[in-house]
Amino acid sequence: MILRPNLVDLKNIGYYLGKIIIGLALTMCLPFLLGLSCGEINPALDFLIGIEVAFIFGLVLCKLCYTENDLSWAQGMIVVSLAWLAATVLGAIPLYLSGHWQSFLDAAFDAMSGFATTGLALVQDLDHMSFAHNFWRHFIMFIGGQGIVIVALSLFVKGMSGAFKMYVGEARDERIMPNIIDTSRFIWLVSITFLVLGTFALGITGVLNGMKPGNAFFHGACIFMAAFDTGGFAPQSQSILYYHSMVYELITVVIMILGAINFKLHYHVWMGNRKEIWKNIETTVLFIAVTVTLIITAVGLDRAGVYPTAIMLFRKGFYQLISGHTGTGFQTIYPAQFVNEWNHLALTGVICAMALGGAVCSTTGAIKMLRLGITLKALIEDIKRIILPEKAIVLQKFHHIKTIFLEDKQARSALLITLCYLVLYGFGALVGMFFGYPFVESLFESTSAAANVGLSCGITAVAMPAALKLTYIFQMWAGRLEFMSVFVLAGFVVAAIKGK
């Protein structure tokens, strides 16, 4: 028998959702202040309106649903999934008011793309966008990359035993420190330290490349936020191609890889345990996966004959590949070039890289290296069981911070999430084909959306059907939250309708 959610459930969900929305309203104060300081009056007004609407919603929810109860697991998951939808709608308000998006759906598409660190964009006339709006586009990637709930946890919640339930709901199932609030704060410490270093490196490179210092450092901060949080938005319409600089590309590659690494691994390296980098299953699998997908892409590009020299082939092939593998989505080629100049083999290499992603507990999306490693270990274990004598005891272990013996439940969990991702990739591809797009392009764009990558082969455009925009929004949301919170929300809705 399914139990219908009661008023206590709704109040708990509403109260914590309200808290997170208030947190979101506070984050909008930064672009508002930036707009004011740059003398951008209308953009500042856009953010003031956004802040006011978010505060009104947040305060009303907190007032109506006031509770001192703690969250249950299901409620925590529902709060997270609803928080991401609320952030998308509220975060889209200042974007839409700017006039750079043709409809509110387009603005919501970009807001979800930003929060989910995807990078697919429907923005128009980006090259004339205000500093405030451009900053917001990148800042929502920074917020989304760490996790919207993490922001609330680390800044606004002092002590809450339900915190871990929301933390897990946001696809972060690893505690770096015993206390979840400390874990959130450590994630911020890492991110802000790298933000300072990365902005400085990119800013100086920009100045040396001939950019005006103000622009160079603003671009540096934006590009860092998009690279470290494996987002993929860029301040100019040409993405990284705008800078015409190999050094700039190299720095972004380093930042993208740093963003694709598990925060737990960051912690151990920060604590001096550098050997962990070479021993960890995730870094090993990432290295193998990048090598294999790079070979596929390079062979494809060589056969296509687009890039006559090995250096050109490597620079273009490796950059798009690492951008796809880390789930970032920066491009140094135009979307149409993927379709017109790259052959299917090269595209397949990039699609595979996008589908696999980076490390768990990082800012990347997709299947992720730990799950791939566990799946491969489980496969090896099963093969050994068949080959070795029946009485032989077969044990598989892997190193992830500590040595762990592989259990069936780990393999099952990894395979289930992998299966969910494959279904999500396929679903988006089917919808794309329904609207008349070719198979490979549909699969490319669908994988890019569901794996929160942001590379585009040209399907993502203002003119694409609204249903396809909604499909990609759903894929970005479900892919970022790694399904469980979305499934729990769906179960909650079913229980509300059919429950007794």
Binding site: N42, F55, H244, K316, A336
Partner: protein, 164 residues
């Protein structure tokens, strides 16, 4: 004499052909990107607004020109780039220029970038600073929402009594 006239006519026609080739009908960025292979290594004419920064690199400079669909990188001599006064941003409408140069779908000199190496650059229209006027509707909406927010904050002072 006749020989000289013929030579002069030939030279004039050659110059006019070159000039017409240099400033022929511009090709759109979409067309250049879509059919990059057929334009590769050929002289093209491309026009649009200069956006972002003019980035000097030694004797040359990079500028990016947006024709309304895409922006394409132009490799141009630094001296010529100095004629660009306004570049497109939130605060300004950039100079609209027409460039004739060699198009590369994967430039061997610049790591495989799709670009144009400019030979001639002509300013079509000069850019300007964009004045910002306050949007009255937005201002009114912000004031109304501020009023609603104040009412909610006042009502919020009446906290429910928690059960002990």
């Amino acid at each position: 004499m006749t020989k000289k006239v013929i030579t002069l006519l030939f030279l004039l026609s050659a110059i006019s052909y070159q000039l017409s080739a240099c400033f022929a009908q511009p090709i759109s960025s979409s067309e250049l990107i879509r059919n990059a292979k057929s334009y590769d290594g050929k002289m093209v004419v491309y026009a649009g607004e200069v956006i972002g920064d003019v980035m000097p690199r030694g004797r040359y400079a990079w500028i990016n020109i947006n024709d309304g669909n895409n922006a394409i990188g132009i490799w141009v001599s630094r001296a010529v780039a100095k004629s660009i006064f306004y570049t497109g941003s939130y605060r300004a409408k950039g100079d609209v220029v027409e460039v004739s140069g060699i198009f590369h779908r994967a430039c061997p000199e610049h790591g495989g970038d799709l670009d144009i190496h400019a030979q001639l650059l002509r300013k079509v229209t000069s850019g300007r600073v964009l004045a910002e006027r306050i949007n009255i509707d937005k201002k009114n909406l912000a004031i109304i929402l501020a009023g609603i927010l104040c009412i909610i904050l006042i009502l919020r002072q009446f906290k429910p009594k928690s059960k002990k």
